[in-house]
Symmetry: C2
Subunit: 293 residues, 2 copies
């Protein structure tokens, strides 16, 4: 209840690693469970397995330990491309970012740990998804994150179930969280130049510092668990359904929009590319294939 | 030799329209000339033809004539997707852009006319290309533009011929143009987060106002003519060569980089999306299909 910043910086990465392991295991189970009798040659492939790759953060013009991360990438027969990245980095914000990050103006030192996941599926009938949670320390500290669902063909039941899962995680902590974080998600994952939403929403939260660190951490854990509970269920629900070339084509166009959002607007992408993050890890979110009409 | 701004604003769009017509005719000729004996089913398709679509510019919260443009889009059997856009627009720069555009700080009124072209080819052995020239009027006025070649498999002879064509156009006007505009092109079409060039270069120029409008206009015409001379020759040189699935795959990855550049860095794209330009015309530059590893 009275952990120090140092203790928190040990606890948080352990959780992200555990969540990463659990998610990867669940996704590999889906690869094993796939029968794919309608999906043609995909079922004949071997079930996918995650491949791990570590990286170290470099800070321009300096030597020392600036942390790093571990990417887990799987190209399977259900998951066309899924990346699950964890990282724990530290260093100094550039001048440009000091004004933008809470608590960084007086002291540019930062520490950040997080998990970030994007899944692009072979089947256009299985929704793509994004999930990310993080803990950032400057002279202040806060949690942030969220998850949003990106179906190519929105399905009311899926949308309701996805939202219900995160609503339950939110409601267990504060009845005001879900309505606020749902709205924040809708505002954030919006493509202004297309005047359309990126997907069907979920939750998005940032700068979460209620004054009770343990409960904020517990909430962030529950967001991860909610994702782990609901997304594999949605995949199982649809992964055996046959799809057409026309549906696949539609999926590629929707992925084009996804790429537009990530490259033009996404704060995490901009933040990563401009703070010397690992480019391969940051752009792991980009779709394996996309198209523009 | 002593044309008024009004006369210039009549002459320039006429040239861009003429150039557009000539380029479209040359590209349709390539579609007709394609035998494609090595390219499988592509030769069985009908030769592609450009489809035209007009649009009018809107200025938020205002009514009036703010100009517009005409898109020409062809999906052919040599050209997988090629857009040739002309536009002539006018209005007021937003607050954000006034500080960035020469001569706009004292008066936000602007007028701009241009031609913009991006060609993505079916064959990974035929280079993609971009060409754009424009004339912009604020309280100042200037020409800008350029062209750069984007081969999937750079070929020394193609690169040399492409550069030679623009060098000749430059040298006819000023021996300093080519070295300066070539270097500007290399600097501009660079992807910092990948630490790599987008293509093999060409020329890029901006804010061209030598004091002699007629010669600047003549130079801009020569840039267009240089493009019209060289690019169809490069297409003919390679379009009948057979290619492999692996080469196609490589092409899709290179196109992913192309999309990254356009969405994250390209000034024209940013300018267009943030000044209420026509989204469909601006993003016509995006590849028909792309992939990320």
């Amino acid at each position: 209840m009275t952990s120090t910043t140092q203790e928190r910086q040990e606890l948080v990465p352990v959780w992200f690693r555990t969540l990463r392991d659990d998610i990867c295991a669940a996704f590999e189970e889906l690869e094993d469970a796939f029968v794919g009798e309608h999906a043609g040659q995909l079922a004949e492939r071997e079930p996918g397995r995650f491949v791990r790759k570590q990286w170290e953060r470099e800070q321009e013009g300096e030597t020392g330990d600036f942390g790093g991360g571990e990417m887990s990438l799987m190209r399977g027969r259900v998951f066309e491309k899924v990346g699950v990245n964890i990282s724990t980095v530290k260093g100094e914000f550039s001048r440009e970012f000091r004004a933008k990050m809470p608590g960084a103006e007086e002291n540019p030192q930062f520490w950040a740990s997080g998990i970030s996941l994007v899944a692009h599926m072979h089947s256009p009938l299985v929704p793509a998804v994004h999930m990310n949670t993080r803990f950032i320390v400057t002279t202040k500290s806060w949690f942030g994150g969220g998850s949003d669902l990106n179906p190519m063909y929105p399905d009311d039941q899926d949308t309701a179930d996805f939202h219900a899962s995160f609503k339950a995680a939110c409601d267990a902590h504060d009845p005001e969280y879900y309505p606020r974080f749902k709205e924040w998600c809708d505002e954030y994952f919006f493509i202004p130049h297309r005047n359309e939403a990126r997907g069907v929403g979920g939750i998005f939260y940032d700068y979460l510092d209620s004054g009770d660190w343990d409960t904020d951490f517990a909430f962030t854990k529950d967001v991860g668990r909610a994702f782990l509970d609901i997304y594999p269920r949605l995949v199982r629900r649809h992964m055996e359904r046959p799809w057409t070339d026309e549906q696949r084509r539609h999926q590629l166009f929707r992925r084009g929009r996804y790429a537009e959002f990530n490259l033009v607007y996404d704060r995490g992408t901009q933040f990563g590319l401009k703070t010397g993050g690992n480019v391969e890890a940051i752009l792991m979110s980009l779709p394996p294939e996309a198209a523009w009409p």
